[in-house]
C-alpha cells in the first residue's frame, strides 16, 4: 500500500472516529457519576438536525455546533428529570429518549432533506502538516477534530487530576457516601448528564455540518449506540476511549482499506457497512467475557437511582 493511500486511510479514520470520541467522552462523564444514558442516539440525532438547521439558516457552522450542543442539553435534561428526580428506570428511559430523539429529529428534519451545506474548510497547521504520511491526517483536519483531542486531554485531567473530578467519581462509586459528606449527589449527576448531552449534541452536529453536510433521516445510524458500547469497551478510561474510537473509525472506513489493498474482490457494500456493528458486538464479547473486568471498572452505582433521604 503506498504512502498516500495510507495517509488517506489514516485521515478518514481520524475523521470517522471523531464524533465517537466526543460522544463517548461525554457518556463517560455521565456514567462516571452513575448515570447510564442510553439515549445517546436520540441526542445525537437532535444535535444533528439542530446543527444542520441553524447552520443552514445562519450560514455559520459554529452557531450550528452551539445549536447542536443546546439540543443535546435539552434532550438530556428531559432524561435527567425523569431519571434523577422522578427516579424512573434508567435503561427504559434512555431507550425512550432514543426513540423520541430519533423520531423528533426525523419530524423536524423533513423539510431539510434536499438541502446541502457548503463544506467547511479544514484547519491546516503549517510545517507539521507537511510531515510524511501522518502530516495530513493529524494536522490538516477540521476544528472539531482538534477539539476532540483537547476534550480528551481536558477530561483525562479533570477526572484524575482535579478535585471536582474526584468528587464526580466518588458520586459514581457511592452516591450515598458522597452525599453524606456534603456533596449534592443529585445535582452533580444532573451536571454530568447535561454534559453528556452537550457532547452528544456536538457529535451529532459534527455529522450533519462537517462530516456529510446534509440531513437524512437516520443519518446517525447507530453511532450513539456504538459510543455507549465504546465506553464499556474502554473500561471507563479516557485514553482507551480514544483508541477504541479510532479503531471503530477505521472499521467504518473499511471500504477504503479494501480499495487501497488493491485486492480485486467484490464485497457487497452492505457487508462493509455492517462491519462497525459486528465489530461492536465482538468487542463487547471480548470485554464482557471476564465478569470481573466490567465489575471492577464500572462505576459501582451505574444505572441505580439515588434517593437522598430528606
Amino acid at each position: 500500500m503506498d504512502s498516500s493511500i495510507l495517509s488517506s486511510i489514516l485521515f478518514a479514520t481520524i475523521v470517522a472516529g471523531t464524533p465517537l470520541i466526543i460522544v463517548a467522552l461525554g457518556q463517560l462523564i455521565a456514567e462516571k457519576s452513575g448515570v447510564l444514558n442510553l439515549g445517546a442516539e436520540g441526542m445525537m440525532a437532535m444535535g444533528a438536525i439542530a446543527g444542520f438547521a441553524v447552520t443552514l439558516h445562519s450560514g455559520n457552522p459554529w452557531l450550528g455546533v452551539l445549536a447542536g450542543m443546546a439540543a443535546g442539553v435539552a434532550m438530556s435534561f428531559i432524561f435527567a428529570v425523569v431519571v434523577l428526580t422522578l427516579m424512573a428506570n434508567q435503561v427504559a428511559s434512555g431507550l425512550a429518549l432514543s426513540i423520541l430523539g430519533v423520531g423528533l429529529s426525523a419530524f423536524i428534519g423533513k423539510p431539510y432533506e434536499s438541502d446541502i451545506l457548503p463544506t467547511v474548510g479544514a484547519i491546516r497547521i503549517p510545517l507539521l502538516a507537511d510531515l510524511p504520511i501522518i502530516g495530513e491526517p493529524l494536522f490538516n483536519q477540521q476544528a472539531l477534530v482538534y477539539f476532540s483531542w483537547a476534550l480528551f486531554g481536558g477530561i483525562a485531567w479533570f477526572l484524575y487530576r482535579s478535585r471536582p473530578g474526584l468528587i464526580l467519581r466518588a458520586v459514581g462509586e457511592s452516591p450515598s457516601s458522597a452525599h453524606s459528606i456534603g456533596y449534592h449527589a443529585i445535582k452533580i449527576r444532573y451536571l454530568a448528564t447535561l454534559f453528556g448531552g452537550a457532547m452528544a449534541g456536538v457529535g451529532g452536529a459534527f455529522l450533519s455540518v462537517f462530516y456529510t453536510p446534509l440531513w437524512v433521516e437516520g443519518m446517525v445510524s447507530g453511532r450513539g449506540w456504538i459510543a455507549i458500547a465504546l465506553v464499556v469497551f474502554a473500561t471507563w478510561r479516557p485514553f482507551r476511549v480514544l483508541v477504541g474510537a479510532y479503531l471503530f473509525g477505521g472499521v467504518m472506513v473499511a471500504q477504503l482499506f479494501v480499495q487501497g489493498s488493491g485486492l480485486d474482490i467484490n464485497i457487497p457494500s452492505q457487508f462493509l457497512s455492517a462491519l462497525p456493528y459486528l465489530a461492536t458486538i465482538i468487542v463487547l464479547v471480548i470485554i464482557s467475557r471476564d465478569q470481573n473486568t466490567v465489575r471492577l471498572n464500572a462505576p459501582v452505582s451505574l444505572g441505580q437511582p439515588f434517593r437522598p433521604e430528606a
Binding site: Q270, A274, Y277, L278, I281, V285
Partner: protein
C-alpha cells in the same frame, strides 16, 4: 416545597392509572405540538385521533396495524418480566420476514396449505435464530443483550437491503429492490372481503392467550416473574437464569419473526427493505404501556396503531411529516416512565427546614 415521599407499599391504583395519565399527558403534549406548528390543535386532534377510525374500514386498518404489535409485544413482555431486555425485535422481525419470504419464493410454483404453514414456521424460526445470538452471547459471555440485539437490528437492515438488491431481487422487477410478488398460496387468507384484515390477527389473539397462560399460569412464567422482581431470590430457589434468558429472548424473537412473516405474507405480499415500520421499537413501548400484561397489550397495540394511522392522516390532511407518529410514541413512553414514579412515591408538601 414539594417532596417525593416513598409510599409504604406500591399503589395498585396508580399502577393502573399511570398509563392512563401518560396517555392524557401525551394528548396534551400533542395539542401543544399542533399549536406550536401553527395548526389548529382541535383540528389536529380530530385528524390524528378521530379520522382514522371514523369508518369500519378504518377500524379494520387499526386492527391490521395492531396485529404485528400484539405479536411482538407479548413475546417481549415474557422477557421483560424477567429483566431480559430484547431491544432487537426490529431485527428479528426482518429476519423472520426474510425467512418466510425465502420459503414463499422457493415454493412459488406450489399450491396448497403447506406453503403458508412452512412460512409461519420459517418466520418464527428466523426470528428466534436472530434472537439466539444475543441469548448465546449473554449466557456464555455475559455480554449485554441490549447492545447486541440492537446492533443486530442494523445488521438485519443491511442484510435485507443486500438480499433485495441481489439474491432475492425479482428478475422481472426492473431492478427495483424488491422480491417477486408472492403467489396466493403464500399470502395469508383474508378474514373478510371488505378489508385487509387477515389471519395474522387470529394468530395475534392466539399469541396473547398463549402468552397469558404462560405468564400467569405456568411455572416457567412464575420463575421469570420472580427473577424480574428479585434476582437473588430466584437464584437461591434454583431457577436457572440461563434458561430464562433463552426463553425471554427467543419468545420475543419468535413472535417478532412471526410478525415479519405476517407483514410479507399480508398487506405487502413481497419482501422489500421496508418490511417493518419501526414495529419492533413500537412494540417495546406497547409492552411498557401495557404493564407487560396481555390484556393491556391488546389495548395498547390498538392505541399505538392509532398513532401510526394518525400520522398518515396528518401527512395527508395537515401537511405534517408522518414521523409525527414517532414523536407521539416517544412522548407516550417518556410520560409513562415519568408518571410511574407515583406508583412508589407520593407528593408531599413539606415545610423547609428552619
Amino acid at each position: 416545597m414539594i417532596r417525593l415521599e416513598r409510599r409504604p407499599e406500591a399503589s395498585q391504583v396508580m399502577s393502573y392509572a399511570s398509563p392512563l395519565i401518560a396517555i392524557v399527558l401525551m394528548l396534551i403534549g400533542g395539542l401543544l405540538l399542533f399549536a406550536f406548528l401553527g395548526k389548529n390543535p382541535l383540528e389536529g386532534f380530530k385528524v390524528f385521533f378521530i379520522n382514522p377510525i371514523s369508518d369500519l374500514y378504518g377500524v379494520s386498518e387499526l386492527f391490521l396495524k395492531a396485529t404485528p404489535l400484539m405479536l411482538i409485544a407479548v413475546g417481549l413482555a415474557v422477557g421483560f418480566r424477567a429483566n431480559v431486555w430484547n431491544i432487537g425485535a426490529e431485527g428479528q422481525l426482518i429476519v423472520g420476514g426474510i425467512a418466510a419470504s425465502a420459503v414463499a419464493l422457493h415454493f412459488h410454483e406450489s399450491e396448497g396449505a403447506h406453503v403458508l404453514i412452512l412460512m409461519v414456521i420459517a418466520g418464527g424460526i428466523g426470528g428466534m435464530l436472530w434472537a439466539a445470538i444475543p441469548a448465546f452471547l449473554k449466557t456464555r459471555f455475559n455480554t449485554n443483550e441490549i447492545l447486541v440485539s440492537l446492533m443486530l437490528v442494523y445488521v438485519a437492515q443491511l442484510l435485507v437491503s443486500w438480499l433485495v438488491h441481489g439474491p432475492m431481487m425479482d428478475p422481472d422487477g426492473f431492478n427495483f429492490p424488491q422480491s417477486r410478488m408472492f403467489e396466493d398460496s403464500a399470502l395469508l387468507p383474508l378474514l373478510s372481503d371488505e378489508n385487509r384484515l387477515n389471519f395474522a390477527f387470529v394468530m395475534a389473539i392466539g399469541a396473547l392467550l398463549v402468552g397469558y397462560i404462560f405468564m400467569y399460569r405456568s411455572f416457567a412464567g412464575f420463575q421469570m416473574q420472580v427473577a424480574g422482581y428479585a434476582k437473588d431470590a430466584a437464584r437461591y430457589a434454583g431457577f436457572s437464569a440461563k434458561r430464562m434468558i433463552w426463553i425471554g429472548l427467543l419468545s420475543g424473537g419468535g413472535m417478532a419473526g412471526l410478525a415479519g412473516m405476517s407483514e410479507v405474507a399480508g398487506p405487502m405480499g413481497q419482501l422489500t427493505e421496508h418490511v417493518s415500520n419501526n414495529y419492533g421499537f413500537a412494540a417495546i413501548i406497547v409492552a411498557f404501556v401495557a404493564r407487560l400484561n396481555p390484556v393491556g397489550i391488546f389495548f395498547a397495540s390498538l392505541l399505538m396503531a392509532l398513532l401510526y394511522l394518525g400520522g398518515e392522516q396528518a401527512q395527508q390532511y395537515l401537511a405534517l411529516p408522518s414521523s409525527i407518529s414517532n414523536v407521539f410514541q416517544g412522548m407516550l413512553l417518556m410520560f409513562l416512565l415519568g408518571s410511574d414514579v407515583f406508583i412508589n412515591y407520593r407528593i408531599r408538601w413539606k415545610e423547609a427546614m428552619a
